[in-house]
Symmetry: C2
Subunit: 195 residues, 2 copies
């Protein structure tokens, strides 16, 4: 019998199944993913996976919820420029990582062909951008950034060039890409592009 | 008998097959795409499609070559700001379009799981960025942009926020997104972010 208490058997099954989903997405991408293979890899019964998730996109959507819950905290270096640098470096490290990179690609690819995954992906990025945007809000409070700056737009524009290279190019994101993105968002803040 | 002369039967077959590939990608995405369905839709023999392309990713890669060959010319309004606006508006129109949007999503998704498609996609964007970057080169010649600005980086950073919304969010790209992206790249140029 499964229970829904946190940290109980249900939580352990979920972690095993989401771990197996991520492993298989990294190893072979979205194509050829099957619930039965996920169940086997996770060491749980097929019927559990079918009953609880029902489809590969539903599994990927739940994986995104878990990724949002467990992702790194926002940087807090005490200076806006260093916080933006730390945030951009984390994106670079994540997308260039040999496990995380293919995982993000597979998740984004799943979102292109499944509306529920697209919703989960949008929620994931909204949460992530919200969390990191507090570095801008606090910089405004310290007088380091102009009042009225939209922190979410700052973080979206910090991230975008790194994701653009990740998804449309075949070369890794460089340290120069990170520096350019930080310099560009700071220039935008100073000239009132973000409100 | 097929010949390879331009505009001949081979070219007509290619156009029919690439058109059918795009139709099926728009209608049902990458999942479930099959060469046999493409051949049927195009009204050509299955063996032709198997012999000439051999796989769905190879078809998508060839579609990208065709998309690069037939995409719009660069804007030429006579002013850098208006050229950048026109370029960003074209991206917005394309990605929000009910046919082109799903097509670009499917192509980008295919690239995440197939290295040959990823190469073709990178070549497509490199050609596209090269073509549009001449609006910056000419603005430098007119004294409208600082000497030494890297036009390719300007166009990449103009495009990135629009693609970021397209791929990680579920809301359409807005006119405000377009204006913000243009204002940001102009601020970046003026402050030396692009060299």
């Amino acid at each position: 019998m499964t229970t829904s208490r946190p940290g109980g058997r249900t939580a352990a099954v979920r972690q095993a199944v989401l771990g197996a989903t991520a492993d298989l997405l990294v190893e072979s991408g979205l194509e050829g993913m099957e619930l039965a293979a996920v169940a086997q890899r996770a060491g749980v019964g097929k019927s559990t996976v079918y009953r609880r998730w029902g489809s590969v996109p539903a599994l990927v959507a739940d994986l995104l919820v878990d990724m949002a819950d467990t992702s790194s905290r926002r940087p807090a270096t005490g200076s806006l420029e260093n916080d933006l640098l730390a945030a951009a470096r984390l994106i670079r490290r994540t997308l260039n990582d040999e496990r995380q990179g293919p995982l993000f690609k597979a998740v984004i690819a799943t979102a292109t062909c499944d509306p529920a995954t697209a919703d989960a992906l949008a929620t994931f990025y909204r949460k992530r951008v919200d969390e990191v945007s507090s570095v801008v809000t606090e910089a405004v409070a310290r007088g380091e950034a102009p009042a009225g700056v939209d922190g979410r737009e700052v973080i979206r524009h910090l991230s975008a060039p790194l994701y653009y290279r990740f998804l449309t190019d075949t070369t890794p994101i460089t340290a120069a890409d990170v520096r350019r993105s930080v310099a560009l968002t700071i220039a935008g803040m100073r000239t009132g592009v973000f409100g």
